[in-house]
Symmetry: C2
Subunit: 203 residues, 2 copies
DNA sequence: GACTTTCTGTAGCGCTGGCTACAGAAACAC
DNA sequence: GTGTTTCTGTAGCCAGCGCTACAGAAAGTC
């Protein structure tokens, strides 16, 4: 009882079209990318885009969601997979240095850069991305608090300040990558940034 | 022989209009700010704006120039005024924490945020700001090399990596300030960030 | 006063933005 | 085949963009 899909089939691959949209939004941001830019890159016409993805906002949100599951997944992965928190944060920064300068896609992080210049009409898009960044800082803090409770960080460690510090380093690395910093430079920065790690509470 | 100015005098103050333009571009970026936004905030009509400032690009460049001489001047000032380089960079980061969260103007740094989302038409604006940021990194590096040659930094110090690190911290602090980080949090981050300072070459 | 110069708002230019009405094309069901 | 469903491109809507032609207003010059 397999119900075959009716009607004329789609003439393009939805996933590759989504990937092309990701690339454009990543490079130029939400407002800097027009529907004409998108349809041109996808090789389709506006009605096909709207039928497949809804409007520009919905498409963008789907792009962000996809990004979080692929390119942006390395952060939480590094923190979750490493049992030692110091090793986890070190790995996260080092992988960020590589990811943000990977020549196979635009530089930096989409969530950080795609909606920094927002007009009144796109304030909601900006708010969405900012909320994602704030959630990231909170997940840093949670990981650090967990480390403190397990004794691998001193009992009086300012986990909030540490979490904001790591967010600062990650976001700054994204910016520097967009400004042309090399993978080599950013890996050195990642290494340097880790030397602030406080000594464990040995008392 | 004082030649008085002929014609109808300007009905608004050019400097305060420039300040209002600065505020808008600072908040929403170059593309996120329209001529209508500007004329509305200034309380004038388009022809007055164009007569006084040229086109939108020229106005923006004048805003950036003014910004560099006022809000953005604290960085080079801190590095130049402090004879000890460590004290200079520490002061720069601490003052950045305060400046970027000052409630009397938009959060973060205009040069860092005003043109991150650029379309093809505004690529030259983006290039201008990026060049300013790169010049900043170079001035960090120059200051660090100077410190090394004077012996206050070890002879094998990687001044390039240090310079990029400080740029990362400054740009990351700007982003975090825009995301809602407080002055208190960022000052702790500034303090934390300085603990990477390498020991001086005592050999 | 008449004349010149400069600033002023109204109104609107050309263009591009996001988005869609419409009719044709290509698949399935029967 | 006919009918139904879904995707397709053309062509164009309307709103907003940066920018300006124009005529009137307000100052100095003589």
């Amino acid at each position: 009882m397999t119900t075959t899909k009716r009607g004329r089939p789609r003439g393009f691959d939805r996933d590759t079209a989504l990937a092309q949209a990701t690339s454009l939004f990543w490079q130029h941001g939400f407002e800097g990318t027009s529907i004409a830019d998108l349809t041109s890159a996808m090789g389709i016409s506006p009605p096909s885009l709207y039928a497949a993805f809804g409007d520009k906002r919905t498409l963008f949100l789907e792009v962000v969601e996809r990004y979080g599951g692929t390119f942006g997944a390395f952060m939480n992965k590094a923190l979750a997979e490493e049992s030692d928190p110091r090793t986890g944060f070190a790995r996260m920064l080092d992988e960020a240095a590589l990811a943000y300068t990977d020549p196979s896609h635009p530089a930096g992080c989409l969530v950080i850069t795609a909606a920094t210049n927002y007009s009144a009409q796109t304030a909601d898009i900006e708010r969405d991305l900012r909320e994602r960044r704030r959630a990231n800082v909170r997940s840093f803090e949670t990981r650090l608090e967990d480390a403190r409770s397990r004794g691998s960080l001193g009992r009086d460690t300012d986990t909030r300040a540490l979490a904001v510090y790591f967010a600062v380093v990650v976001q700054g690395m994204s910016q520097q990558a967009r400004d042309g910093a090399t993978a080599r430079e950013l890996r050195r920065v990642a290494e340097l940034a880790m030397t602030i790690w406080p000594p464990s509470d040995a008392s």
